[in-house]
Symmetry: C2
Amino acid sequence: MEEKIILTRDLSSSAAEADFEEISLFFEEKIREKRYRELKELIATIPSADMAEIFENTDKAHQSTLFRLMSKEAAADAFTNLQPDTQRRLIESFTDIELSEILEELYIDDTVDLIEEMPAIVVKRILKSSTKEDRDVINTILRYPKHSAGSVMTTEYVRFLENMNVEEALTHIRRVAIDKETIYTCYVTDRDRHLLGVVTAKQLLTAELDTPLTDIMDEGIIYVNTHDDREEVAHKLNRYGFLAMPVADSEGRLVGIITLDDAVDVIKEESEEDFAKMAAITPTEAPYLKTSVIKIWLARLPWLLILMLSSTISSTILGGFEAALPAVLVLFVPMIMGTGGNSGGQSSVTVTRSISLSEIEFSDIGRVFWKELRVGLLSGGVLGVVTFIKVVLIDKLLLNNPSITVLVAGVVALSLTVTIIAAKLIGAILPILAKKIGLDPAVMASPLITTLVDALSLVIYFAVASATLPV
Amino acid sequence: MEEKIILTRDLSSSAAEADFEEISLFFEEKIREKRYRELKELIATIPSADMAEIFENTDKAHQSTLFRLMSKEAAADAFTNLQPDTQRRLIESFTDIELSEILEELYIDDTVDLIEEMPAIVVKRILKSSTKEDRDVINTILRYPKHSAGSVMTTEYVRFLENMNVEEALTHIRRVAIDKETIYTCYVTDRDRHLLGVVTAKQLLTAELDTPLTDIMDEGIIYVNTHDDREEVAHKLNRYGFLAMPVADSEGRLVGIITLDDAVDVIKEESEEDFAKMAAITPTEAPYLKTSVIKIWLARLPWLLILMLSSTISSTILGGFEAALPAVLVLFVPMIMGTGGNSGGQSSVTVTRSISLSEIEFSDIGRVFWKELRVGLLSGGVLGVVTFIKVVLIDKLLLNNPSITVLVAGVVALSLTVTIIAAKLIGAILPILAKKIGLDPAVMASPLITTLVDALSLVIYFAVASATLPV
């Protein structure tokens, strides 16, 4: 009965968390009943990515048993999909031999990812259990700056020498395929690993066997440098429609590749990071439901504190305002501050994303300014007029507030217009300046712009009101 | 001299917009000088994705000349990367024969994308210039709901019959490769197209030629349905590490595939849409610098208006507040409203993204509520205490405001704590409810939550103050 639930589980429907929890419970039961052979057969039918989910839901006490029931290849595959905490726990349960075996199955870039997440003592064990050759490669990759192409590349690519023909290339692939992250894009180099051309498996499969590689290879090589930004590289790979992007060192020698699926992870990770930063949250990698309350709290608290404390500036301005001007003006403070914040948010998010997607560079700052100025004038103009009408019709006539005069409506409308224009410009320009001086534009998008626009909108309101209204 | 600029242009460096503008100018000059042969040779060395950029920067009068200088394959490739406006203009300049030739080179899914962007009259011409067979496939794909897997799939995949062996499969690939979007993941089906297994080119390349496909194919097939959500499908493809995901109809018959590079486009498009919505902008697809001021303005204005008008609620509450309570309390309104907004924004963005990534479903609503309640209590608690100390030390003692008493500080702190807890819960729960009733959670994240939290924070402040302070 229960077995049936699992075996007929429709993998085509969206992978529901509940399913994995159910399967985990079922597996735990089998483990307690020591029905290992049966379990092993079942596990063999489940994709590694799903096994990783099942793992995360399995009781910690049973995880290593479950892991040992998987084939080495599948186990390694599932392992790379696990949360760092689970990976660490599993490694601690491994014997040295088991650890070596898993490491041997992992692609170098996955080992590097793993090492970056593990505490020092586990890293030491991982390096000790790797082969000398792998250790050297790992150390090289680890030395590349964070978020660089070098730090996410893998060195397991297929390389042909320039004097090979199609048949020799196919034989070479057959021999080395098992250890390579992709065999579909291969690189032709000279003996010093200088890139000469790119050959795809499609070209090899459709060409005559005796064709020299130099006849079919694509020589218009597009490559990136080890120090290029990984997000830029990922978008570039996608833009050119490649399955892999070659990474060369400063002398143009091929040192690694970045595959499309790793690029997808980079794109996803970077955009999730931007979402978090724009919402004033310190980015964390783990899924929400798997993150502890304390971790979520710590990721959010600092920004809330900074934003709250910086609002002292606004309060102080408002204090001076209240003492000097008619009380009725205070009614419109939330509207003006709010609309200013929204206007600034619109332009800052747009510009920040365009920077992330390499659509805007520092040299475009003038064009952006001019564009936002016009958008700001149009938006500010319309909202000013609407506000004027709204204040007169609704707040003055409908809600019958005697202290609202036509002049007050005019002050509110004008202040709003100026605030919107200023907010649009600040929101658009600050991220570009931030990027220029090496700060993260996405962080700019939230706290600093909000605080600035809030304070500025009050100053504008204050200035317009003092200039026009009798005190 | 000038030629040198282009030929030595380092394609490995980030593709700078300025470069493309320069090349476009250079090309326009060559066209005016009618040096077509030279230009043709130059163009042949430039990747199609770059040619698309150059196109966009080229004077409209010269675009069709430039296009005709490209090889058919490269032209079709570049064509799919163009902005809809440019595509339309080019099609209008094509003869019927030229249009047929380009359409023949396009993959079906690219033709469908094109049709979706073109005005009715152009669509009619495109369909007329397609083969009968293509037209039928296009019409089928167009009938799938927007944002469904069926609407983004392509029908150009490699299919083997179950009785073939490796050699026959390789021969088949050689024959059909040119027209297929990928040959790296192939599907084994029966005569009725029911999916039986998946075979990769890697498996074919490393197996003996006489091996039956049924021996090497992977039978644990993961597929999606034509009506599944395209974003879910894209993330699934990435999760399983596939290069392509098979799409089946309700009877389990293979009807198409979604390749990884198309999935990347879906992931990028959907997350850019979410960025826009969260910033209260109607999503547009074109890059910022290429979008007209009017279009940017129209995408932003409605939300600014809605948010502005809805702030009338807050103003009204504030009006009642001002009449009934000590004026000093108004000073802290921006801080309480702002912190409430930020707290709600943090939880709503987190939850909305988790929904997009299929990490949270409706059944998780209880867990989310409980998590956010605890995060809210912790955040609210700390910020309340900090606010109390800040108000007493800075606003009362340092800034020497005599109307701020310890009781006022207490009211402000308590109101803030309650506001934060309420905002976190609203921000987290509303997107889940929105998704449940078929609304877009990302739209919820911004306007509605902001308006609700703003009004609510004032009500809370009002209630706490009236209950504790002497009027």
